[in-house]
């Protein structure tokens, strides 16, 4: 099957491309990039005014299947990813039951092949049941398709266990993704410890509870040589730790979420909106500024959403009882375009690097570029489309977005995975 994408502004810093160009795809692979390409037989799509980039990857999503399909499942999560402009996502293993063995990895891989055009990458649990105690059969899971290991949602508390897990993961050359939360210090904290916890009268989640774990895991990366990826980093001091680790040449990377970039603890007002209850929590304005700066300079490698769908009745509980998390797949790109690219804080090249190239590199996936021979995983963006985030407008099964009501400029219009459209002119396929 042939596909000709005509007239988009094609941007890919990996091949030094930023020009209006045509892209010809045959059998899922890019066969030509250039001006004035034509097609005798196949599908031709006019993309004048659009921006075409290598397919975006979100390396941190909760698809909730198996076990909590009322919040999300592989199919609906895949659709939400397509709507948001992503060609691939990395599913977190803290499902019910946990993805901590090859059979469970196999379930997700097979289900995804059956129901999702979006590529569903799988991460396995670092420890059995995400309990932080015994190592999982990582070798078996890698053979079954797992590309990374993590106890996301909790973090391994015991340093000796974390060390062994990182050493063992190194056997297979896959990264360990770390949710940094020192439970002793964080306790029942639900918002940033400081102004928000005092004003709202709820237990605080201190920045130190995250930073101590980041420092520990960097030290363990140095000790073990294992590639370490810090998930959802939130503080200026945490960023400084990663910056120093990188300067020392350690294999350390990190991600930031749109909500930690674009919201702060000050947004949680007296209405106790549980959509703003996150783990880790929204931090200070100074932290958010430091995150945006670190993203621009490259200390923060990539943007990931930590897409965390929850049912309406769960988020309707008292703030201290409601579950943590916000959805993110369908708003991330538009937020980055509106808040960072349009303001000049992030270049288009940097957006492609942080949302397409870096996640693939961190996860050891084959690169996707706008060049002959690359797999045709492509995202097309309408940079002029202005739209408002509404509760009713999601492909996700859940509507617990922290950004309901925001008006954003720019949105994915087409997404191609292996040459097939998963999003066609704004419609999920």
């Amino acid at each position: 099957m042939a596909l000709l994408l005509k007239g988009a502004r094609c941007i890919d810093p990996a091949v030094g491309l930023d020009a209006v160009s045509d892209v010809l795809v045959r059998d899922g692979v890019i066969v030509a990039v250039g001006e004035g390409l034509s097609l005798e037989k196949g599908v031709e799509v006019d993309l004048a005014g659009k921006v075409l980039v290598p397919g975006l990857v979100d390396m941190h999503v909760h698809l909730r299947e198996p076990g909590q399909e009322y919040k999300e499942d592989i199919q609906s999560g895949g659709r939400a990813a397509a709507r948001g402009g992503f060609t691939a996502v990395l599913a977190m293993p803290n499902t019910k039951p946990t993805i901590d063995n090859a059979a469970a990895v196999g379930f997700v891989v097979e289900k995804a092949a059956e129901v999702s055009r979006t590529r569903i990458l799988v991460s396995g649990a670092l420890t059995c049941g995400v309990k932080g105690e015994s190592l999982t059969e990582m070798g078996d899971m890698v053979r079954g398709g797992a590309v990374a290991f993590t106890d996301d949602g909790r973090g391994v508390q015991d340093s000796g266990t974390m060390r062994r897990a990182m050493e063992y993961a190194k056997t297979f050359g896959v990264p360990v993704l770390s949710h940094c939360q020192l439970e002793d210090l964080v306790g029942s904290g639900v918002v940033n410890e400081g102004v928000a916890s005092t004003r709202l009268g709820v237990a605080g989640w201190p920045a130190a509870g995250e930073e101590i774990q980041i420092a520990r895991d960097i030290a363990l990366s140095e000790l073990t040589g294992c590639a370490l990826h810090i998930q959802h980093i939130t503080t200026a001091a945490g960023v400084a730790l990663v910056r120093a680790a990188k300067a020392a040449g350690l294999p350390v990377t990190c991600e930031v979420t749109p909500h930690h970039l674009f919201l702060t603890e000050d947004d949680i007002d007296e209405t106790y909106d549980t959509s703003l209850k996150m783990n880790p929590p929204l931090r200070t304005t100074a932290d958010a500024k430091a995150l945006a700066q670190a993203l621009a300079e490259g200390t923060i490698d990539c943007i990931a959403t930590d897409h965390a769908p929850h049912a309406a009745h769960e988020k309707a509980l008292e703030f201290e009882l409601a579950p943590f998390g916000t959805t993110g797949l369908e708003t991330a790109l538009a937020l980055v375009l509106t808040e960072l690219v349009a303001t000049g804080a992030l270049t288009w090249d940097a957006l492609v690097e942080r949302m397409a190239h870096a996640p693939r590199r961190i996860l050891g996936c084959a690169p996707v570029t706008l060049a002959e021979g690359s797999v045709a995983d492509l995202t097309v963006i309408d940079p002029e489309l202005t739209w408002t985030v509404t509760r009713e407008g999601f492909e996700s099964k859940s509507a617990n977005s922290a950004f309901i009501g925001r008006t954003l400029k720019g949105r994915a219009s087409h997404v191609y995975v292996g040459g097939y459209a998963s999003l066609d002119d704004g419609a999920v396929q």
């Binding site: 400081g194 709202l200 009268g201 605080g204 007296e270 703030f319």
Partner: protein
């Protein structure tokens, strides 16, 4: 909307200084009623007031109950043990159920901060926050401000110390901003383990050393040390706490002339207050309890649409 600029009292900062004075003035009239032999007014006859107490409380609930009865409202107690909340019913469901029964006013006490807002989003009734987690307890703050104002004749310019477990105190959460709003100067006194992260955001200065500042205050407001919190070890022992922060005979003697002691009750005798410090005439503990009924009557009256002129009825 009635005399007050708000339909609900969820947070002390829902009230303007004018609102607070309106409540305190109205409460003064009701206090006189409470001194009569027949303490009942027909003012809220036919109105339904629900005490939704999802956390054990005897003192506060009783105070609201008496207030409702003295205004001839029909008061209903919806207690935690008798409710469906123990069977997994959510607060949203409870609110919608009560709403379907056409209540006029709901007083909620709950162990979770912000829960009164769930009620206002899910029912038509007026809502009074009777204490939500560690967040706010605005009616306590109002009765405290009433007490201070009746004693000194004013609040502006007074120096108020609030001493004790401030980190876990909803009383502090309402009283500190309330007093600050009316021009008093509030100092939180406790070791850092019993302080919230940023007391300044609630309008309070901080001291760790009671003895060095004690003589400065017109009001020394002692919070209850909750024995169950001690298990989390914010202080090494009640003994050391009493030594450092308790009001005893020696510290009584060093209070500023004319200074008063207050406490939201119930007191741990011998911990935050020695028996002498409880029984002294400078301790307005029981005056606060008495004022509580009048202040709650005033709030019910004002929120349910009364105005001061209607009091004559």
């Amino acid at each position: 909307m009635g005399v007050l600029s708000t339909e609900h009292l969820l947070n002390i900062e829902d009230l303007s200084p004018e609102d607070i004075y309106a409540v305190l003035d109205t409460a003064r009239s009701f206090k006189e009623v409470n001194e009569r032999t027949v303490k009942k007014l027909p003012t809220l006859r036919g109105r339904t007031i629900v005490n939704l107490f999802l956390e054990p409380s005897t003192r506060t609930r009783t105070s609201f109950e008496i207030a409702a009865k003295r205004l001839s409202a029909d008061g209903i107690n919806f207690a935690a043990s008798a409710s469906a909340t123990t069977k997994g019913e959510s607060l949203v469901d409870t609110a919608q159920t009560l709403d379907a029964m056409d209540c006029d006013l709901v007083i909620i006490r709950h162990r979770y901060a912000g829960s009164p807002y769930i009620l206002t989003r899910n029912m038509r009734a007026h809502v009074i926050n009777g204490g939500d987690g560690k967040h706010q307890h605005p009616t306590q703050a109002l009765l405290d401000m009433f007490t201070i104002r009746e004693h000194f004749g004013h609040i502006e310019g007074l120096e108020v110390a609030i001493v004790g477990d401030i980190a876990h105190s909803r009383v502090f959460g309402s009283l500190a901003p309330g007093l600050t709003m009316l021009g008093a100067k509030v100092t939180a006194i406790a070791p850092p383990t019993l302080l919230p992260a940023r007391p300044d955001t609630l309008g309070a200065a901080v001291s760790y050393d009671l003895d060095s500042v004690l003589g400065r205050f017109d009001v020394v407001y002692m919070l209850r040390i909750q024995q169950e919190r001690i298990e989390q070890s914010p202080i090494p022992s009640l003994r050391e706490y009493a030594q450092l922060y308790g009001i005893n005979t020696a510290r009584l003697a060093r209070l500023k002339e004319g200074a008063i002691i207050m406490h939201p009750g119930p007191v741990n005798r011998g911990v935050e207050l020695s028996s002498e410090a409880i029984d002294t005439a400078r301790n307005l503990l029981l005056y606060q309890v008495n004022a509580g009924v009048a202040v709650r009557m005033a709030l019910m009256f004002l929120l349910l649409g009364g105005d001061k002129d209607g009091l004559a009825a």
